[in-house]
């Protein structure tokens, strides 16, 4: 099974929508890889520049209702092709969250206080995820270990590498 984790990119805003993650004009691309340069292109966030800030990151840490709006799975694929395979948020929009599990990627919901803890760890934070144990370790200015809840089905989707593999086997 693949490893989940990496350097964290902090997106300090609620309600980041999938139009901001990947604008609709790029939905005419017929491969996932072609989306790569356009990640978070329309995100309005003080000082954030995707061309500078994405490089080397493997995890997104953000606030509430991440991935709201359009159902476009391109919003998950654009993370995948940029080597981001975990998003940690206070909450997710339903379709985005499902799309993450469906692609074998990890959407982790944490209580607000844990999100605050992560945001308080400084700028350079490295996340490692123990999927079997449902804990994540964040190494920043200090090291913290945070447990998370992932329901059995969602965990099985991630382990199977996504919904298509799971459904093909089971239905």
């Amino acid at each position: 099974m693949k490893e989940f984790g990496g350097k964290a990119l902090f997106l300090d805003r609620n309600d980041i929508n999938t139009d901001e993650i990947i604008p609709a004009k790029y939905l005419t691309e017929n491969t996932k890889l072609a989306l790569q340069p356009y990640i978070l292109e329309d995100l309005k966030l003080g000082g954030f520049d995707p061309r500078r800030d994405i490089e080397g990151k493997g995890v997104i840490i953000t606030r509430a209702n991440f991935g709201c709006g359009s159902s476009r799975e391109h919003a998950v694929w654009v993370f995948e092709v940029n080597d981001i395979n975990v998003v940690i948020a206070e909450s997710f929009a339903r379709i985005f969250r499902q799309n993450m599990y469906n692609c074998g990627m990890l959407a982790i919901e944490l209580p607000k206080r844990d999100i605050e803890t992560l945001f308080g760890l400084g700028e350079a934070v490295e996340i490692t995820v123990d999927l079997a144990g449902c804990t994540l370790t964040a190494q920043g200015d200090k090291k913290v270990v945070i447990p998370f809840i992932l329901n059995e089905f969602d965990k099985n989707l991630v382990k199977a590498g996504g919904w298509l593999a799971y459904a093909d086997k089971n239905y």
Binding site: D15, D19, K44, A64, R72, N151, D154, A167
Partner: protein, 427 residues
């Protein structure tokens, strides 16, 4: 214990319970369009799994960019067109017969009370207007839906929204739903079904109910849903008359889906709309809503009337009520996109298209294009659009553009005055 309509539909379609929180449902209809389906098709081909579970339950349309605007969109059209032919998907709607999916598919009678419906499009919640459970999904869910006819869902809770009073003249379903989204916020209904009930909903046409359910996703809801009744039966009658001896019997049959009196709701909201004013969004989120009075005078560059929210015949009629005999302001570009060929031809017959054109509107073919900044009305940086669509996200209708969501009446009044205008003044 009593069940809600959503719980009844879930029970009737249950395939599996892979965890206490999740269910796998059998699907009655899988809807497809050319933006999110081609990648599902090419992925299935690459995996040597290019099959469909039941071609009669798959409906497909090219609607987002049509006619194709460039080689890439032409290829998206070609992939879905070739696929529909290859798998003998009879209900495939191409140029000449195509329209905005969430207006076209209901018009064809594909959505029935008690159905489960998915589509790779977040506004699939529109179809809840028919008493169906209809949810937007991503491409992988769509892919599995196409292949296996199933979809997974977290079991949603239901919130009941009771709409009472009398909708004042100049105020429409769009104003009601904008107000509800403002109250609930953009994630107030996440993982929930919004069940719309009450005398105002009962008095609404199917078109108005579709507008109401269409924007349930903007509050985060899995689905909006209305209880199927005589209005539903009359709308569907041409498609169901072989199944029922009378409309009365159809209405009786639909009762099986109605929520039980002792059903459990996670949240209740009652809204008396008798004093509701027309509503308009500001900012970049659909819960940033004010009454039109507070927004009055905001200048606009473009007025767009169309989309799965408000491109149906009633919407065109209400806008035409204001535009009749008037010209739109010199500073404004007006664009009308009737949502389907049927809406277009009906609008022609009723003389509505002439009213729009004489007022100075450009009339496009049915397409989603402008709503998401893909074609047929993309904004330039810094431009402002008064729009009957569903999202005012940053860049939604074009990079750097600003969108104010409103009803067709308010959009028409705004077009005439050149700035956001209360339509009640012009009625």
């Amino acid at each position: 214990m009593g069940k809600t309509i959503a719980e009844k539909i879930f029970a009737a379609h249950l395939r599996d319970t892979p965890s206490p929180e999740n269910v796998i449902l059998n699907l009655d209809v899988v809807l497809c369009h050319e933006i999110t389906t081609p990648i599902a098709i090419t992925d299935l081909e690459a995996r040597d799994m290019d099959r469909v579970f039941d071609p009669s339950k798959i409906k497909a349309v090219i609607d987002h960019v049509t006619p194709a605007k460039d080689s890439k969109t032409a290829m998206q059209g070609k992939i879905i067109r070739d696929w529909a032919r290859r798998h003998k998907i009879r209900d495939f709607f191409d140029i000449g017969a195509n329209g905005v999916c969430h207006a076209l598919f209901p018009e064809k009678g594909f959505i029935r009370p008690g159905y489960t419906v998915i589509m790779g499009d977040s506004h699939t919640c529109t179809h809840g207007a028919f008493g169906a459970f209809a949810a937007g999904v991503g491409t992988t869910d769509l892919e599995v839906g196409i292949l296996k006819g199933v979809c997974s869902f977290r079991i949603p809770e239901t919130m009941r929204i009771t709409i009472t009073g009398i909708l004042p003249d100049g105020v429409s379903a769009k104003d009601v739903i904008l107000f509800i989204i403002k109250e609930l916020t953009v994630n107030g209904a996440t993982d929930k079904v919004m069940e719309f009930v009450g005398p105002v909903v009962e008095a609404m046409s199917m078109e108005a109910r579709m507008t109401l359910c269409n924007m349930a996703i903007e509050a985060g809801a899995t689905c909006g849903i209305c209880l199927p009744d005589r209005v539903t039966a009359k709308y569907l009658w041409p498609f169901i008359k072989h199944r029922y001896a009378s409309i009365d019997l159809a209405v009786d049959d639909f009762l099986q889906w109605h929520s039980d009196p002792d059903a459990t709701y996670v949240q209740e909201m009652t809204l008396d709309v008798s004093r509701l004013a027309p509503q308009v969004t500001f900012g970049y989120k659909p819960d940033e809503v004010k009454s039109v009075v507070e927004m009055e005078g905001t200048p606009v560059d473009q007025v767009y009337i169309g989309s799965c929210t408000n491109g149906r015949i009633e919407d065109l009629r209400s806008a035409a009520r204001i535009l009749r005999g008037k010209k739109i302001a010199a500073n404004v570009r007006g664009i009308l996109s009737p949502a389907t060929p049927k809406v277009y031809s009906q609008a022609l017959e009723e003389g509505l298209i002439a009213i729009f054109m004489e007022a100075g509107f450009c009339v496009t073919n049915p397409t989603c294009g402008a709503c998401l900044g893909m074609s047929n009305g993309v904004l330039a940086e810094g431009e402002i659009c008064a729009s009957t669509t569903n999202r005012n996200f940053n860049g939604r209708m074009g990079k750097g553009g600003i969108v104010h969501l409103m009803s067709p009446l308010t959009a028409a009044a705004t077009a005439v005055q050149g700035h956001i205008t209360d339509p009640r003044k012009l009625l």
